[in-house]
């Protein structure tokens, strides 16, 4: 069963379309990256899933059930624009948020206790948020997002504003939550986190979904049949089927070449060809990074 399924979700504002018939499928227990440049419509989609705004058309189901107000307790949401009540004490604030998510006061207190112990922030409970540092406040915010043990966690740009230490802490927590069976959707434009964390991705550009799949599938789809070869001694390729794109000297008197295979065939053929002209030290297929795919797709589209 899918944790989230959106079909034909459309949102129209007076002078522009924020989302145009977007379909996404988020498998259960996955970490799903929602990618796209600024203004693509990611936040609109996330707000629709959180029932903050309504879509004009389309259908969304959560764990097989049509999206309805009872899902508020199932979803945990960390918006891009973080915020807490400045004058309210951390403890009271967390209890309030948990109650709004449908927990009883007693349950909330118990949950908060385990989380503050985990993050070692027990002393903060009596402090007002305005007295906390930014990093501290973000930990509190993260707790408020996951405290009610949501099965679906939606994080909008979760790492923006975190220092590396706290970013790592949050990354670890996200992985732990996944192990425990939660599904995590996050939107970001930081591609390294996508490489590290996501197993599924979707790319939204200009209100349309232009790509979706597992990270492997996507990378396979955007392979350019290019290979990186480290070798001793320069060479030329006289075969029409191959194109030498680049050749640089690297350390230990080795040279690195990028070779593109223009015909479909096995890499073995290329290796055979290469061994005739040079001494091959290493040979690897060049897999595109998410960042490269992102830029190719977004730029390609916007230049149309």
């Amino acid at each position: 069963m899918e944790a989230l399924k959106a079909r034909g979700v459309t949102k129209q504002y007076a002078n522009h379309t924020a989302l145009n018939k977007v379909d996404i499928t988020v498998p259960e227990k996955s970490i799903y990256g929602l990618l796209g440049p600024n203004g693509a419509g990611k936040t609109t989609l996330i707000r629709i899933i959180n029932q903050i705004i309504n879509s004009d058309a389309g259908e969304i189901s959560v764990f097989g059930q049509r999206l309805n107000p009872s899902h508020i307790g199932v979803i945990g949401y960390l918006p891009e624009e973080r915020g807490l009540y400045k004058k309210l004490k951390v403890g009271e604030q967390l209890i309030y948020f948990a109650q709004l998510k449908g927990l009883s006061r007693g349950e909330a207190v118990a949950k908060i206790k385990t989380w503050v112990e985990k993050f070692e922030i027990k002393d903060w409970l009596g402090k007002k948020v305005e007295d906390l540092s930014k990093g501290m406040a973000q930990k509190v915010q993260f707790i408020s997002t996951v405290m009610h043990e949501p099965k679906l966690i939606i994080l909008d740009e979760p790492f923006s504003g975190f220092d590396p230490v706290n970013a790592q802490l949050i990354t670890d927590e996200i992985l732990k939550l996944k192990e425990k069976g939660s599904t995590i959707i996050f939107s970001t434009h930081r591609m390294e986190t996508v490489e590290d964390l996501c197993d599924h991705i979707a790319l939204i550009n200009k209100s349309n979904k232009i790509l979706e799949g597992t990270k492997k599938e996507v990378k396979a789809q955007y392979k350019t049949n290019t290979f990186t070869v480290d070798h001793r001694g320069a060479f030329r390729l006289n075969n029409e089927a191959y194109e030498l794109i680049q050749q640089n000297n690297i350390e230990d008197e080795l040279t690195r070449s990028l070779v593109k295979m223009k015909i479909s065939g096995s890499p073995n053929q290329l290796i055979q060809e290469l061994t005739q002209v040079t001494e091959v030290h290493s040979f690897a297929e060049k897999v595109p990074t998410m960042s490269e795919i992102f830029i190719t797709l977004v730029k390609g589209k916007s230049h149309e």
Partner: protein, 433 residues
């Protein structure tokens, strides 16, 4: 529903637990009577100690009649130059120079003073001349003093209201005026103070960005209503504490001065008045106070406070949701304050002067002006149908403004950094979902 309740609780506790709330709630009712008491005391002492100031006068006309009500007039023998010198060396308040003048054209009368005299001082001296000259002129026309005395008549009108049952009730329009004024001003203050607090609270939520977290758990409309109702209950609590404190205090104070509080008075009123028909002035005042239906006035105040507050509170909420900072809110405050100001000024110009006039009646029925206007009229016994119509309109009014505000609020709270004007607001209002 459960979540609205949570928000109401949160808002209520947030405000009530603040020190400023405690201070305002407990100190204000103490401060007001204290200030009044001090002022009354000072004024009394001043009157007791104040000696009448001396005014020297040089009368060349022979028409001046020293009236000693306000000043001690002392004749000065000599010409004006000597008079001025003597005045400079004296402690007198002024020097009044009266040259010879024609009765038909009294000119050249001059008052020399060391400090600028107040208009009342000058006026009182002018009146002495005016009255005396009038008498003299009448004498010239051969009207005898006896006739003059007969012309002067003192009139006092006792106003007695006959209700439908034929019961007679004396009413003092001055007391009703006071009740109306106090009610109207209080209403104006309450709506403004609490309305502004809603707006401020929403701007804070928007600025601290906490609002998106909240609206992922509750509907924006629930959040807005929770806030409005939460603050309304704070306002009501404050009002009730004030009533209680002022009631207790005034009972204590009046007891100290040998008077009785209106509520005690009411119970004993009849027998007391049958026993003592020759009621003194202050007893008359107490009698009129006691004949106002206090429960009726307070009930109406509460109704119009809640209604007016909800009506304006929703508008304040809409403004708060639309802007990014309190400074930006100013531009949208104008249309909200206009009807409030109109009713406030109308309170003094039409409503209290003529509580049953057409303008007064309409202002007390139109929902935007009715909370203040009706408070001005309420003491003067408003016909039931007008009260009912006004209350219905007010309920309809706040349902309308709440609906209107809700549509702006749900879009506004999620918008940051947009330059908002009335066109943008209209667009938000029309926007679906």
């Amino acid at each position: 529903m459960n979540k609205i309740w949570l928000i109401i609780q949160r808002e209520f506790l947030n405000r009530v637990q603040k020190k400023s709330f405690l201070v305002a709630t407990i100190l204000l009712p103490l401060i007001f009577p204290a200030i009044m008491a001090v002022l009354v005391y000072v004024a009394k002492e001043q009157k007791k100690n104040a000696e009448k100031e001396t005014v020297l006068y040089i009368d060349e006309s022979g028409y001046f009649l020293a009236d000693t009500a306000k000043f001690k007039f002392k004749p000065f023998q000599g010409n004006l130059e000597e008079g001025k010198k003597a005045f400079e060396n004296s402690k007198s308040f002024g020097l009044l120079y009266i040259p010879k003048f024609e009765l038909a054209n009294p000119q050249g009368i001059t008052l020399y003073t060391k400090i600028n005299p107040s208009p009342t001082d000058v006026g009182s001296i002018e009146r002495i001349f005016a009255n005396h000259i009038k008498d003299l002129k009448m004498q010239q026309l051969n009207i005898e003093q006896k006739v003059l005395d007969q012309i002067k008549t003192e009139v006092t009108i006792n106003s007695v209201k006959i209700s439908e049952g034929g019961q007679e009730k004396s009413s003092d329009s001055k007391v009703l005026f006071g009740v109306g004024m106090a009610g109207g001003i209080l209403m104006y203050m309450f709506i403004f103070i609490y309305g502004a607090q809603i707006m401020q609270g929403i701007i804070e939520e928007k600025m601290s960005k906490v609002v998106e977290v909240i609206v992922s758990s509750v509907r924006p409309f629930q959040l807005m209503m929770g806030k409005i109702i939460g603050l309304a209950s704070v306002g009501l609590l404050q009002f009730l504490i004030w009533i209680l404190l002022i009631g207790t205090l005034s009972t204590v104070v009046m007891g100290y001065f040998g008077m009785q509080s209106p509520s005690q008075e009411m119970m004993q009123m009849n027998e007391q008045y049958q026993a003592a028909q020759q009621a003194s002035g202050s007893m008359e005042l107490l009698k009129s106070l006691s004949e106002i239906h206090w429960s009726y006035v307070i009930f109406s105040f509460l109704f119009y406070f809640i209604g007016g507050y909800l009506l304006y509170g929703a508008l304040f909420a809409a403004v708060g949701s639309a802007v990014d900072s309190p400074a930006e809110a100013q531009q949208f405050m104008f249309p909200i304050t206009i009807p409030m100001l109109i009713s406030y000024f109308a309170l003094f110009t039409f409503i209290l002067e003529d509580p049953h006039g057409t303008i007064s009646v309409w202002l007390s029925i139109i929902p935007f002006t009715s909370p203040i206007a009706m408070m001005g009229r309420i003491g003067f016994e408003v016909p039931d149908w007008q009260l009912a119509l006004s209350m219905l309109c007010l309920i309809g009014g706040f349902v309308l403004t709440t609906w209107f505000a809700g549509r702006i609020y749900r879009v506004g709270i999620l918008m940051h950094g947009t330059k908002v004007n009335y066109r943008v607001l209209a667009k938000w209002f029309m926007q679906k979902g």
